[in-house]
């Protein structure tokens, strides 16, 4: 049995119906658990004080903001190559989640920046590329909304996603070249010696896992909604045909 069987809408609905409830539960426990752990039971950082607690929201959100776009890119490719409707609809379903993640990363970052850097906003490369990513999300969603015919919309948005990804990477290099940053580099890399202290790291892992799962659950659920919406459109069009 191949994974493509889940590209069948009915099969997809049936499967998600079964697996979603436990997933909701696990993602909720992980997020809430991680955040409570991080908020209540971790010490303050000696330099950043209590603001370090923002990391439990900021980093997972930033992670998912990028990965959501990446997932949309993969789904778009699948639609372009194999034309599975579910994958186009999954890309559509993921975009608003991605926007919210981007917004959370931007907002928590801006709030964090005020005490740390003394400014809400700086044209740091990482911040800037997130702003650009936000604009890409807006354009992508607006294009979906503007087109009536769902297949046309899927085709156009997927090509926009492909082209947009290339330009997003280009922008990333451009802003890197353009300005050196204030923002810290990755501190959770495997090969580096000085990772963040474990007290901060474990709740952070929990939150990251929670955000990933939460994203997954939301996207699966929303894809189901989009599938139903399409079926409804098809039925209504059919009804109109019988009227005419």
């Amino acid at each position: 049995m191949s994974i493509w069987e889940y590209a069948n809408p009915k099969k997809f609905l049936r499967t998600t119906e079964r697996i979603l409830p436990p997933l909701w539960l696990v993602s909720g426990v992980l997020i809430l658990g991680g955040l409570i752990w991080g908020f209540f039971f971790t010490p303050d950082d000696y330099r950043q004080g209590s603001t370090v607690k923002i990391i439990y929201l900021h980093v997972p959100a930033a992670l998912m903001a990028i990965n959501a776009w990446f997932m949309m890119l993969v789904a778009s490719l699948i639609w372009v190559i194999r034309r599975h409707h579910v994958s186009a609809l999954a890309a559509k379903a993921a975009a608003p989640v991605g926007v919210v993640m981007t917004l959370i990363a931007l907002i928590t970052g801006a709030i964090w920046g005020q005490p740390m850097w003394g400014t809400w906003w700086a044209w740091d490369p990482r911040l800037t590329s997130f702003l650009v990513l936000f604009l890409f999300y807006l354009g992508y969603i607006a294009l979906w909304e503007a087109i009536d015919n769902p297949d046309t919309a899927a085709d156009l948005t997927s090509i926009l996603c492909l082209v947009g990804s290339v330009f997003a990477v280009l922008s990333r290099y451009a802003v890197n070249f353009w300005n050196q940053g204030l923002h810290q580099g990755a501190s959770l890399s495997l090969d580096k010696q000085e990772n963040v202290a474990d007290v901060f790291a474990y709740p952070l892992y929990a939150c990251m896992a929670g955000f990933i799962l939460f994203f997954l659950v939301l996207v699966l659920y929303r894809t189901g909604t989009e599938i139903r919406l399409r079926r409804m459109k098809a039925l209504l069009a059919r009804e109109r045909m019988s009227d005419a």
Binding site: N8, K10, K11, N149, P150, I227, R231, A234, A237, S242
Partner: protein
């Protein structure tokens, strides 16, 4: 020259016609009939390759097709000659003089297309077909706005085209006096798709 088998066409994701089939040899004309909104334009656009068929197949050389739509597709600020020359160059033709005279456009040669009357514009847009040099003409209501004399001009252009081994498919609501096969599209109206709660037609 062109053969159509079991063709289904759709517009805006709604099936419009189904199981259309015909076969057209060189020298033949096919006239599509049917009430407004039955799907003549949609069928012609599909034949011209502007949209993919829902099902079925179209056998024939796409590269031999010239399409004339409802809209005239003229650049109003260019002159009659310039409009024709543009399309002549696009299709690699060398000469527009015979076309100008065939559609009685010689006197209007240097006028900007925007200053032509509706029927004169239509003549110009039909003249465009002849400069393409293509053998299958696909015409969507070609005689709109034409007076009786111009309809005659057009009919004789079509007859000449057919006798030179061309073919034509056209949709029209009025009688043109071209003897071609009639195809009434009303019987091919797409029926409701079978209600399919199983996998295939779920969306």
């Amino acid at each position: 020259m062109i053969e159509v088998r079991d063709l289904g066409v759709s517009r805006g994701a709604v099936p419009v016609l189904e199981a259309v089939g015909f076969c057209l040899a060189a020298g033949e004309a096919l006239v599509l009939r049917g009430p407004n909104g039955i799907g003549k334009t949609t069928l012609l656009r599909t034949l011209a390759g502007l949209q993919p068929p829902l099902r079925g197949e179209i056998i024939g050389d796409r590269e031999q097709i010239a399409y004339a739509a409802h809209a005239d597709g003229l650049k109003l600020t260019l002159s009659v000659e310039e409009n024709l020359w543009f399309w002549a160059r696009v299709f690699g033709s060398e000469d527009i003089a015979p076309v100008l005279s065939a559609f009685n456009l010689v006197g209007l040669r240097t006028r900007p297309a925007g200053s032509l009357s509706a029927g004169q514009k239509r003549r110009l847009s039909l003249a465009r077909l002849m400069v393409t040099g293509r053998r299958i003409w696909i015409l969507d209501e070609p005689t709109v706005s034409l007076d009786t004399a111009s309809v005659q001009l057009f009919a004789s252009a079509v007859v000449a085209h057919l006798s030179a081994g061309g073919a034509a498919i056209m949709a029209t609501h009025i009688d043109l006096g071209i003897d071609g096969r009639l195809l009434d599209l009303a019987p091919f109206k797409a029926r409701l798709p079978a209600l399919d709660f199983d996998d295939g037609g779920f969306l």
